[in-house]
Amino acid sequence: MSEQKREKMSWQRTVLKVYPFVILAAVLLVFGILTGGSLFSSRNLENILDQSFQYLIGCMAALFIFAQGEQDFAMASNVALSAIAAAAVSQISVPLALVVALAVGLAIGCICGGMYAKLPIPVFFLTMCIGNVISGFLGPLTNYSSVRTPVSMLDLDNAILKLAVAVVFGVIIYILYNRTRYGKNSRAIGASSTVAKLSGINLSKYKFAAFVFTGLAAGIVAFFSICKSGGASKATGTMFHFNVMVAMALGGATTGGPKVKFICAIIGPLIISVLTLGMNLASVPVGMQNLLKGALFLCVMVLSDRLSKFDID
């Protein structure tokens, strides 16, 4: 490879690696100025954290699936079912509601993971079908009504608590993803499942476990969702999986696979939250907000598509 070509590849790879940071910095800077600094008031920083929380958890948990080159389209339905189940038992006991949310989330995750590992069905169709089955079940399950929680649960919608949960969850995921064989092998599966299998990696085990994490995340998100809104309905978690995908893309994981970095799961949700909050605080016309979000997402997708071919180790 010529020196000139190597240099060209170098700057293109650099752009590919730094664009999420640049977007976040630009969004912070632009809206920091446009809002006269109120974006950084303690209350709005709390809002950013609060509004990022569910996507931080969702994105961090989805890292392993993204690394394997797949996505979980059942997450939204899983959140809804877990939230409804938790809300239903919350009148008996709040700790029991947490246990139920995690148990249901994990159970759905295990079902998805088990079928993904054992059945030769593309995971896109598999999880979408499971999601639709759950969605169809939610209406009759709730008698087409909201399931409410005790008002006292609203006190658990606490930014410090969410921050603590996000940090603990993040540390665990970071270690698993970057410091263990599990993370390394997940990325190997994303690079080439055939090579990974020939290298002796038990594909079924890793595929199954990836969905266990998203199931766990769905349970956590569901619990904090009912703490925030005071109940659950079949609409709870709507578009959650889609927003996780968008956040991951903005964070630098547009295509998934072995190049997905842990930081993608942190930067992406922050970009979305800062952008949404910043535009409202800066009084960006409402019609323009969706346009700007869509344009940014499109630019990121085009940019990463054009440059991804240079991202070769």
């Binding site: 910095a25 912070l28 974006l39 009504s145 909201s146 008002v151 809104s229 005071g230 709870t236 949404t276």
Partner: protein, 403 residues
């Protein structure tokens, strides 16, 4: 490289904080605002320019949707805010979920609004206690529109609202009556074999009440609903409306009427197209709830014979209540239910007439200024209730077109 980027990011944040750091306050202050408002609503805001009225910050939700209900609601609210010397603070929820509306409410509250108009239907039963609690914790005046009467707010929400000094009230429509009147009008046009397009089956307030109204009419007039379409995958597009009507007419050629009890603005173009394509304009009538765009076209062809909508003034009334409080002349002690009527148009001719005034602001500046006790000492709670309950097509015609 990573360290460099982290440092760069930290530097930008610190510089932004240092250069621009200030607590609260919005950014784009309109001309009639001298100060970014106050975080102490009970102490009022600032004198609002040459009107002599107290300037306060009125928060509201704006989905950006442009349809026969959202657009006039926004236009009327903005006009009222400006007329009453207030500053409007809009926020756009990221999605149509209860959680997203609560996030948007947090954003509003962080901008030091003094009062906020809450679309109850967007928070629903589950989210309304959280919304109310957030407003109470922030010390912000709040009230609901597009909601139920107070007694149907739900026990948790009601327990917070009924003793609160911050609660402005609940503006609700009689959904049962709207659906009943739609069915009655169809019956009066000789249509008794009915198709139904509506909201997804639910036991929540709005859908349940409309279904109940239909059921009452069926019993009273001997009508029959032959088939229903409630799938929101279908009823949120014009194409879905067209397909639905085509299927209805194929399966039930005897069908002579259709009630659209929700998502009217989305399905109506397709519904109309399918009816005219089938050549059934003369013997197939449609009654709808919520005003779609381009109603004149549907009425002119004789297809649309009833529509109830125009429920766009709830936030205006909340702004009036808030403005009176901010100017030191509260109209009521605590919140209560206010029955804000739908505008009911019960013939194609009435619909055509309404279309001539649909873009009008319901209450002009002079009328709104007379709703403040500081300007008009005779304007009390009774006068306010009378104003709310008299809202109708004929009320607007009398006030603005009496000559």
């Amino acid at each position: 490289m990573k360290k460099l980027l982290a440092l760069l990011l930290a530097l930008i944040m610190v510089l932004s904080l240092a250069a621009c750091g200030q607590e609260g306050g919005g950014t784009q202050e309109p001309d009639n605002t001298e100060d970014p408002g106050t975080s102490e609503p009970d102490e009022g805001g600032d004198e609002g320019g040459d009107t002599g009225l107290v300037n306060f910050r009125m928060g509201y939700f704006d989905t950006g949707s442009q349809d026969g209900t959202s657009t006039p609601l926004r236009n009327n609210l903005v006009a009222a805010i400006e007329s009453l010397g207030a500053t409007g603070v809009p926020v756009q929820p990221a999605e149509s979920t209860s959680d997203a509306y609560l996030d948007a409410l947090d954003t509003l509250l962080s901008q030091d609004v003094d009062a906020v108009a809450l679309p109850w239907v967007s928070f629903m039963y589950a989210g309304s206690p959280a919304a109310v609690k957030k407003c109470e914790d922030a010390g912000v005046y709040y009230g609901f529109y597009w909601g139920p009467a107070m007694e149907d707010l739900g026990e948790d929400t009601l327990s917070i609202c009924q003793d609160s000094e911050l609660f402005l009230g609940c503006f609700y429509q009689n959904e049962t009556d709207a659906a009943y009147s739609a069915m009655e009008t169809l019956h009066n046009y000789g249509c008794d074999q009915i198709g139904y397009i509506g909201l997804a089956a639910s036991n929540e307030m709005q859908e349940n009440s409309r279904d109940y109204g239909c059921q009452l009419a069926i019993e009273d007039f001997g009508m029959e609903i032959l088939v229903e379409q409630r799938d929101t995958n279908v009823t949120l597009t014009a194409e879905g409306g067209a397909t639905t009507v085509e299927n209805f007419l194929t399966a039930y050629p005897e069908m002579d009427g259709l009630i659209i009890a929700g998502n009217t603005q989305f399905v109506m173009p397709g519904v109309h197209q399918a009816i005219t394509a089938a050549g059934r304009e003369d013997d197939f009538k449609v009654a709808a709830i919520d005003f779609p765009d381009d109603m004149a076209t549907y009425a002119e062809s004789g297809v649309l014979v009833y529509d109830s909508g125009g429920h766009v003034t709830g936030p205006v009334y909340l702004t009036i209540l808030a403005a009176n409080i901010m100017n030191g002349t509260p109209l009521a002690e605590g919140g209560q239910s206010y029955n804000q009527q739908y505008i009911k148009l019960t013939s194609s001719e009435e619909i055509m007439g309404w279309m001539e005034i649909e873009d009008e602001i319901v209450y002009n500046t002079d009328e709104l200024l007379q709703c403040l006790q500081v300007n008009n000492p005779d304007f009390d709670l009774d006068a306010f209730v009378e104003m709310v309950e008299s809202y109708s097509y004929s009320d607007i015609m009398e006030r603005h077109h009496s000559e």
